[in-house]
């Protein structure tokens, strides 16, 4: 019972909302446009550091810092897109995974320390946000699920941003722009032959999805109130991929369902292992190994999902038969 409520709390908590936001961005890239972005964590990194540097270094107000986050994510998307989007899809895949990791190295480097705080990151970033909390203090919850007033306020805002992002993608995908974007996924040459500038459309999609990733990073910074570069490891991107594919790519609610379900499962997995380990039922597993096993579990889930159910929980199989040319 305990495990269930903890898992449920994570599934609807602020962290899950952050991952939903980043997964919506990834869905824009992969689900709708067919772009292989293996570096979504890079967008989250620059987004989080938009807040981190804006508030922590320059003492800007949080709202200006969020705008800075969005700008940083857009710049990163252009930086990634301009060299690679004219090329085959695999070049984008390689470049994104490499640039995301290079960005992490840059942000944690010694020479960037005056700006980013180096390996120590930036702290106490969200005081303004929690000062503006309109929710009266106290505990809120039903069925054993329990959140503090600050968490409720944070959840209202993050899930609110998620709602706006969902409305935006849904409206975009039903617009002429969305039809061109999906056409690029299906057959780039056909779209090109209709006189559309595929490169421009792909760049727009990359920027839009990247900005959503940047917003997710900004929300993460607000949620944790401090950030360090090393929480933006490449594994985060692969979690997002597993979540998106689990929920169902190219569906409006796929990237919402996926992170919630996967966070529920992962927390249940963690807690179960930890309970078993604390009762010495798993003599061969160390407490520190649980995190590693969880990563391996996500990898396995990714393989099995893509092979046996590429459309995920609510996807359309036909839409997932995209291919690289």
């Amino acid at each position: 019972m305990d495990i269930l409520t903890i898992s449920l709390e994570t599934a609807i908590g602020p962290i899950a909302a952050v991952y939903v936001l980043a997964a919506i961005g990834l869905n824009m890239h992969f689900g709708y446009t067919g772009l292989l972005n293996f570096g979504q964590v890079g967008f989250m990194l620059v987004g989080a550091y938009g807040v981190g540097v804006g508030v922590g270094t320059f003492g800007l107000s949080l709202w200006v810092a969020v705008v800075l986050s969005i700008a940083c994510a857009a710049v990163l998307a252009l930086l990634l897109g301009i060299p690679t989007l004219r090329l085959r899809a695999d070049y984008l895949a390689i470049t994104t995974i490499a640039v995301a990791e290079a960005a992490r190295l840059l942000y944690r480097a010694e020479f960037a320390r005056p700006l980013t705080g180096g390996v120590y990151g930036r702290q106490s970033l969200a005081e303004g946000f929690y000062d503006a909390n309109p929710v009266p203090p106290g505990r809120y919850g039903v069925l054993g699920v329990d959140f503090s007033a600050n968490q409720v306020w944070l959840m209202l805002v993050t899930w609110g941003v998620v709602g706006v992002a969902l409305l935006l993608t849904s409206a975009l995908m039903h617009s002429p722009w969305g039809r061109v974007i999906k056409g690029i996924r299906e057959d780039e040459d056909a779209v090109r032959s209709l006189g559309k500038d595929v490169f421009v459309y792909k760049t727009q999609s990359l920027v839009l999805g990247g900005v959503l990733g940047g917003l997710a990073g900004a929300m993460l910074a607000i949620n944790q109130q401090n950030i360090t570069p090393d929480q933006f490891m490449p594994q985060v991107t692969f979690y997002l991929w597993a979540m998106l594919l689990l929920g169902g790519a190219a569906r409006t609610f796929g990237p919402v369902l996926g992170p919630m379900v996967l966070w529920f499962l992962l927390t249940a997995f963690d807690e179960t292992l930890r309970t078993l380990a604390s009762e010495d039922l798993l003599p061969f597993i160390d407490g520190s190994d649980i995190g590693a096993l969880r990563h391996a579990f996500v990898g396995l889930a990714l393989v099995l999902l893509i092979v046996y159910r590429p459309q995920g929980l609510i996807g359309d199989r036909k839409e997932m038969l995209v291919n690289v040319k």
């Binding site: 067919g34 292989l36 293996f38 301009i82 060299p83 690679t84 004219r86 090329l87 085959r88 899809a89 695999d90 070049y91 895949a93 390689i94 470049t95 995974i97 490499a98 640039v99 990791e101 290079a102 190295l105 840059l106 944690r108 480097a109 010694e110 020479f111 180096g118 390996v119 120590y120 090393d230 490449p234 594994q235 692969f238 991929w241 597993a242 594919l245 597993i285 520190s288 190994d289 590693a292 096993l293 990563h295 391996a296 996500v298 990898g299 396995l300 889930a301 990714l302 393989v303 893509i306 092979v307 590429p310 038969l321 995209v322 291919n323 690289v324």
Partner: protein
């Protein structure tokens, strides 16, 4: 034209063999402090404590020297630390001299394994010593594990891998060139398979880096087995057999065999069935990512997160060749890498299977219609790629340290190498690997060593902008 190009390349690679020098790769990854107390003798049971910051009292870690006088403390990250030797644990026969004393302040760069040297001496020596000028007592371990107690005399902490700030620019340039060549050869060995696999199957193997880690860990496992060390004891002192039966040499051979088996097994039991199911390429990319996550973390669970060095060939006296110092270990790494690359190139150039591999990489359909058994060739390519990546892993582990994330870090440089050389071309991967290794190392002449990977990746972006088909790639539309 192509044959001539390859011949020239082979000649260049062979010529690299005769360039002497030292190799000193900065190991990417976490940080630690380590040292060995062996002057005047190795002393066991000395307590060493590491504190956060120069002033702070927060204990980061404690260590006690082992029977060889060695100790090691893992660090949470780069920064300033204070290392304190507990003088109460020092035997009465020795004293800690005033300089540098029992308390040392060190700054650790990211990814640095820093050697901290405590000096002990007899009371008589100490009296003499106190008259002499003070000496810096710490030095980098970047020079490749050789930094023990005795190497520290009067040397300053190195600013760049393998180079002291005291030496002239020319000397540092030379040292780093050789270090870059070593690193580049390691990248080249590992990435030939990546490029060939892409050529034959159009698939980017994101798990290639973890196959590198697999090789390094397998060699470590075998090298630490008592079976092999007792086998080695039998041949101890016999001129050739002493080397052949060294546990690490046996471990290397077994790791390469297992790496080849892993590659071939993956192709036979994972990729071929997936291709039969008509799984699209994008999906295959995601499968390789998932598999790499599984492999990396299984290795982490089995072997732990510690950063280790191979016990064999650890401490060696460097050869002095003019202004350069080169450990026999690094010379052997370069020689082995060059021999293997020449062998692979000759195989690709002159044997039937090699020609078939290049044909399939060039155009799969055309190769199939001209009677080449494409499935068999692909299986061999995966076996070759797996074996080479395992070899690269052992060499990299020998040059730096063995760590569960070593392969992933190398993978990014391997990507830069294959894109620079031209995706899908084996010779391109070799040339690209050497260039990337040189760029990464030489960038430390002017810029922080933390950024050496960033420069390599910057080159990759530049190549994509200017010449996306790479140095050796054929001019064709890739978009």
């Amino acid at each position: 034209m192509r044959t001539r190009l390859v011949t020239v390349l082979l000649a260049v690679i062979a010529a690299l063999m005769v360039i002497p020098g030292t190799a000193a790769a900065d190991a990417p990854g976490g940080e630690n402090l380590n040292g060995q107390i062996r002057q005047p003798t190795t002393i066991e049971g000395l307590d060493i404590t590491v504190y956060e910051g120069f002033e702070g009292d927060e204990v980061i870690g404690e260590a006690t020297t082992d029977s060889e006088g060695k100790w090691e403390v893992g660090l949470p990250g780069p920064g300033d630390y204070r290392v304190v030797l507990d003088e109460d644990t020092v035997p009465d026969d020795y004293v800690v001299p005033e300089k540098p004393g029992s308390e040392l302040e060190v700054s650790v760069r990211p990814d640095q394994q820093r050697t901290v040297v405590f000096r002990l001496m007899t009371p008589a020596e100490a009296a003499e010593e106190s008259k002499e000028a003070s000496q810096e007592a710490t030095e980098d371990d970047d020079a490749g594990g050789a930094g023990g107690g005795d190497a520290a005399e009067g040397e300053e902490g190195a600013a760049a891998p393998g180079a002291d700030p005291g030496t002239s620019f020319g000397e540092r340039f030379l040292q780093l060139t050789v270090a870059g060549l070593t690193f580049g050869l390691i990248i080249a060995v590992s990435s030939v398979g990546l490029s060939l696999i892409f050529g034959t199957t159009r698939m980017i193997n994101f798990a290639h880096g973890d196959m590198v880690t697999f090789g390094a860990f397998m060699a470590m496992m075998f090298a630490n087995m008592t079976l092999f060390s007792s086998l080695h004891d039998v041949f101890e002192g016999v001129p050739v057999l002493d080397f052949v039966f060294n546990p690490l040499v046996l471990g290397l051979v077994l790791a390469v065999v297992l790496g080849g088996a892993l590659g071939a097994g993956l192709e036979r039991f994972l990729w071929r069935p997936l291709r039969r199911r008509n799984v699209a390429l994008i999906q295959m990319f995601i499968v390789t990512i998932g598999f790499s996550l599984v492999l990396r973390h299984v290795l982490l669970v089995v072997f732990g997160a510690r950063r280790e060095k191979y016990a064999q060939f650890r401490i060696q006296e460097p050869w002095q060749l003019g202004p350069l110092s080169l450990t026999p270990r690094d010379a052997a790494i370069m020689a082995l890498a060059v021999v293997v690359l020449v062998l692979v190139a000759s195989m690709l150039q002159f044997t039937r299977m090699g020609k078939a591999m290049r044909a399939v990489a060039d155009n799969r359909d055309l190769a199939e219609s001209s009677g080449i058994d494409v499935n068999r060739v692909t299986l061999y390519v995966w076996g070759l790629g797996g074996a080479l990546s395992a070899l690269g892993g052992v060499l990299y582990g020998l040059n730096a340290t063995v760590h569960w994330q070593m392969g992933f870090h190398l993978l990014l440089l391997m990507f830069a190498a294959v894109i620079l050389g031209g995706l899908g071309t084996a010779y391109g991967a070799m040339a690209g690997g050497i260039v990337i290794g040189l760029v990464a190392m030489l960038s430390t002449l002017w810029f922080s060593p933390q950024l050496m990977n960033v420069w390599a990746l910057g080159i990759m972006i530049l190549v994509l902008l200017v010449r996306p088909q790479g140095i050796l790639g054929r001019r064709e539309r890739v978009g």
